[in-house]
Symmetry: C2
Subunit: 237 residues, 2 copies
């Protein structure tokens, strides 16, 4: 991280996000079933941390709201650690008022157990039925604000990726969505590489898309942030 | 780990487990719900890895069957990485024939989802019901063998710890059980310290117990292995 910061200082990137406040969520969330058990997902947090690293290098003031993951804090980035989706929403809401760009990169658990046991559940029966309830949708909550920041979502899917992402872009009123196919183990989740398709609506509300070929998550992050900045400038010019 | 190995060489422990084969399970297991979601628990694997480290230093040949955890392999120990309870049972069964001592220290998920989705479950509804089925009981399976190794179990509970552990000792036909209270965050799970109560039946089938006060997981591991070796020698003498 320090090494990256030094490289960034020696080869400064264009400060296109100078003066911008960027809030990024990253990693998985964990939803408690009881004091020892939880439900989670395979997100490593690498994509969100890469976005935070690059946004800072592009001149932004960055707050990174991170679920449980094993990554060190990028240089110059303010990090807030959280566990559950509810925690994450609260942490985002505490900082979102001032944000120009919100990037919901975390793999937020869609559901949490309806009841959380205060003591460890005993394994008395051959089967167990757990009821889950929907978690808050952090991305949609941010995008539905009266004065929403430029809101970027991610769609990690195993099938029909681009169609699903286009639906999510419209339904959640996002400004930009980055879609990737997590069934390909060469990219996504624990991998250091990624490949994505960016989707957005232009001024005439036409769906636009741009493919980002397989590259490091850092390079993908720079492409996403550059595209976002361009759309943000078009919208405000 | 190398440092510990050097210290161990300079100050060799009594080789009480020389010639003994020890199989240890450690860490959590992860049970897939679909390609991205899973259920797991907060076990760090530290206690099992400490047992493997110390057993090797006491002269044993050690196989460590480890669920997903972030720990490096102890010096001189053969490590087999697994994900689910089914994987773990398979890995244990592959090496258990030759084992003198089996230590089931992993926090094996008691239940796994009945059906594993081959594609990511979409979040269409406000609630979700998942059915779980019991996982194999690795400890009981090993203890129920025709010629079982000396079998050591663990009971990590949040309430009524010693009573529950005594029941588990009898029900699963274990030779020794180490019980701890995981509701105390100073010890257990992610902590480097632990405090335990050892329980076993003596030759007259009377329940015996010995409290191990709060200490490093390495010191607790040595106490457990020394107790086990003493009981094993008594039984075979």
């Amino acid at each position: 991280e320090l090494r990256e910061a030094v490289v960034a200082l020696l080869r400064p990137k264009p400060q296109i996000l100078s003066g911008k406040q960027v809030v990024i969520t990253a990693g998985p969330t964990r939803e408690a079933i009881d004091p020892v058990r939880y439900i989670s997902n395979h997100s490593s947090g690498k994509m969100g941390f890469a976005l935070a690293t690059v946004a800072q290098q592009l001149g932004a003031t960055v707050t990174l709201v991170a679920g449980p993951c094993q990554l060190s804090t990028p240089y110059g980035v303010e990090r807030v650690d959280v566990i559950s989706a509810d925690d994450m929403l609260q942490a985002v809401e505490a900082v979102i008022d001032a944000a120009d760009i919100f990037i919901g990169c975390a793999a937020v658990a869609d559901y949490r157990p309806q009841k959380v046991g205060s003591t460890k559940i005993k394994k008395n029966s051959e089967s167990l039925v757990l009821e889950f309830t929907r978690n808050p949708d952090i991305l949609a909550t941010v995008a539905a604000r009266k004065k929403p920041p430029f809101t970027i979502g991610f769609a990690a899917e195993t099938n029909d990726v681009v169609n699903y992402a286009a639906g999510k872009l419209t339904r959640k009123k996002l400004n930009l969505i980055a879609a990737n196919d997590v069934s390909d183990t060469q990219i996504g989740f624990n991998s250091d590489d990624n490949a994505m398709t960016l989707l957005w609506h232009d001024k005439n509300n036409e769906l636009q898309q741009r493919a980002l070929g397989r590259d490091s998550k850092t390079a993908i992050a720079e492409a996403i942030l550059t595209q976002a900045n361009q759309l943000l400038n078009n919208a405000t010019s």
